[in-house]
Amino acid sequence: MSSETYTDTADPTADATAGDVSSFRVEGISKSFRHVQALDGVSLEANRGEVIGLVGENGAGKSTLLNILTGVLQADGGQLYVDGEPVTFTNPREAANYGVSLVHQEQDVITTLRGYENLYLGREKERLGVLEKETMRKEAQAFVDDLGINIDVNDHVRDYTFNERQMLEIAKAFHVSQKSDNPVILLDEPTAGLEESGRELLFDLVNDLRDRATFVFVSHELDEVLEISDRIYVLKDGEQVGMTNVEDATTDSLQQAMVGRETADEYYRVPDQRRAGQLGEVAMAVDNVAHEDAVGPVSFSLREGEIFGIVGVEGSGKQRFGRLLAGDLEMTQGSISVMGTELNNPSVSDMVDAGVGYIPKDRKSEGLLLYQSVLVNTSLAMIRDMNGRMPALDLDAEQEATMNAIDELSIKTPGPNALVHGLSGGNQQKVVIARWLAQDTPILVMDNVTRGIDVGAKEEVYRLCRELTDQGVSIVFIGDELPEVIGMSNRIGVMANGQFVAEPFEASPGNKPTEEDLIQEMI
């Protein structure tokens, strides 16, 4: 897609500082956890000024490799070279001394501290045991300014936007590796929580800084990897199965290398989409609902078997609108009617009673009880009405519902009593979905339902959505990934300032809007 943009930097020798010495190189790195070979003889190399993409399905070994590069884990075999020098890291501090640092997938900043305090966290400047706050603040501001990062380091991080926090983290990565003249910044799924605008800011920053550091960019989003990287390594089952220059790669070719099989042309199973004539009665009618001035007023109706997509930029209110539909945000105006029942300012409990199940964007903090079993998580909604108002649980019914869910959603778990924490992201998300299927919920509100799960699991979620709509389930499909929303939806509402900017787009098979169509309305 952007192959021609970076052809000049794709050749590392073009960079004056590069010479023949690679920024870092790993040779034949292996790592096993007891019986499982997580990495098997992986080799890769990055030259100064390069942005290296690293892709692979969940479990392919990406995280293990990052952990070895930063000294969190130690390799069983193989050798790591930084700046041509063979090195062995036993902890992240040693790695940082050589310039290697990791920007975590989950934001790793302390929100109650100020920006500069986070920047210096653990490495504070002090004189006679007293912090030199003013010095740190000034130096920190100069440091981020120099990087071209536009944040005020004196502000509390809690007042930062999601984006600014991430910028701070990148600044921190540079800061901890400033002793080295060869910083290597590892970005682990840096766009996972970002929306379109945030992603652009991040990519601009990486592009601006590419002559000052070597980046490794790890992501599930292949189009992003293609946009930012010079070269891309593919890991599969712990082995390095391919390296391509970005101009030779496409999302299809990468996907094929990652999965090891032909991906369906119809990734989103568009032919299975319900046609307008196949849709049922109105399942949910939203009439002029609003939450104070922040969201709404919004009106739309959703028919049985329909997928209604909602897109919008960061801050457009689409996420809060999802919460409003879930009863999680106070409805200060308007009313909503679900399966013919009218509700005014419903609570989450009311909406669940009416037949609406909400799947939040962040499954770890809002979707799952990580240290409870698959069974407890699956039955968490159905136990509400178990045995009428009687307090007793029906353990047999829970067991049966869980076994059915494991079977139907092909959840990979050792059993119903295994803790959810141990499952892969895709399987965890299936458990969240299973909770609503266990009680035959007719309407699902999904907020970025495939966020952070691998290609295989995404395909399964798409298949599941198609099967559900065949059974008459209706889905509100809120998403940041435009191709996904376009592919999945029957109609698409574009949101800005908490409202739909126009009549929803028709998105029937063969008549789908393009990304550009939607983006034009979004901004």
Binding site: F33, R34, H35, V36, Q37, A38, E57, N58, G59, A60, G61, T64, K236, D237, G238, A326, D328, V348, S349, M351, V352, D353, Y358, P360, S365, E366, G367, L368, L369, L370, Y371, Q372, V376, L380, A381, I383, R384, M386, P391, A392, L393, L395, K412, T413, P414, G415, A418, L419, H421, G422, L423, S424, N427, R435, D454, G456
Partner: protein
């Protein structure tokens, strides 16, 4: 090797019991057994039916009830510090209703009801006014103790009614009623914890309240119930304690709170909520009861006893805590 084999492996590790798991599970058992062996060897009286039933078991019942009471708020990541004051208040109410109002048996449900109301008050202030349970119950700990002491007028109050007393002091096939009541309620709390919605929500709320809320549960209600149950069980403890000695002094119940929390945590219920349960709380209670009894039999100085008890509690918790599930300790 399949693509998800690493996560499969991690899951398998969690399923497969490691030595550490066994230590966590068996720690309190080993400690209890060890203490019993030590006291059996060092004292003549410890391992006799008279001592075990009449001293250890009967003394353990009050602590057991209070610890079971405290287990549920802790499971949902709250805490009830007011337990010992509820014991005092309900104990005093029992004696006054029998001795001064002549209510007889009716005094018992009323006193237990007072305990539940105290719990309801804690729960309402905690959920509706959003005051942390630690602070609410720290306040009511003081308030209810004051009310109870005012009712006694500052001196021990007594009643005479042997038929009512026998509820606590009688025996069935040689086993003290008090112990039977304790066991009955113990089993009841296990059923509540593992066979009811209430119990399930306790564990779930303790781990992540948002998840439970988004699953459609009426969260406030289920956050109040554990406090009402706590008040109820402390009421039972207050009633049984006063029936046993047919009197209530202004300081009954005092000093129960800390050992009860120690017993809960020793049993494996983490203060961070979500794990453990009442079934194991009894282990912590027995460790403390046996230790107290044995040290008394050995005529160990009471100040030294305090030191030993504290050390044993810390050691038992260190053994039984599930560190895998705890990222940060505060």
């Amino acid at each position: 090797m399949s693509t998800s084999s690493v996560s499969d492996w991690i899951t398998a590790q969690r399923e497969q019991r490691t030595l550490q798991d066994w230590i966590q599970d068996l720690g309190p058992f080993v400690m209890l057994f060890g203490l019993m062996v030590i006291f059996t060897l060092t004292t003549e009286r410890f391992f006799t039916q008279g001592n075990l039933l009449d001293n250890v078991a009967k003394n353990a019942v009050t602590l057991l009830l209070v610890a079971l009471a405290g287990t549920f708020p802790i499971l949902q990541q709250s805490i009830d510090l007011s337990v010992e004051s509820v014991v005092l208040l309900t104990g005093v109410v029992t004696v006054v209703l029998i001795a001064e109002f002549g209510l007889g048996l009716l005094a018992i449900p009323i006193a237990i009801g007072v305990g539940m109301l105290a719990g309801l008050f804690n729960g309402l202030v905690f959920t509706k006014l959003k005051v942390p349970s630690f602070l609410v119950t720290l306040g009511t700990l003081s308030v209810m103790a004051g009310v109870g002491k005012i009712i006694t007028g500052g001196s021990t109050i007594t009643f005479r009614n042997d038929s009512i007393r026998s509820i606590a002091t009688g025996t069935v096939f040689g086993i003290p009623n008090l112990v039977l009541w304790g066991l009955l309620i113990y089993v009841g709390t296990i059923v509540l914890a593992f066979r009811t919605k209430f119990g399930r929500y306790c564990f779930a709320l303790g781990e992540n309240e948002r998840v439970v809320e988004l699953a459609g549960a009426k969260v406030d209600r289920y956050k109040i119930y554990p406090f009402m149950l706590s008040g109820l069980l402390c009421g039972v403890a207050g009633v049984l304690l006063t029936l046993r000695i047919s009197s209530a002094s202004p300081n009954i119940g005092s000093g129960l709170m800390l050992p009860s929390i120690a017993a809960i945590v020793m049993g494996g219920t983490a203060l961070t909520g979500g794990v453990g349960g009442p079934h194991r709380t009894i282990l912590g209670v027995l460790v403390i009861a046996v230790l107290n009894n044995g040290m008394n039999l050995l005529a160990i100085d009471s100040f030294v006893q305090e030191i030993v008890l504290g050390l044993v509690v810390v050691a038992a918790v260190a053994l039984s805590i599930d560190r895998d599930k705890i990222d940060v300790v505060k």
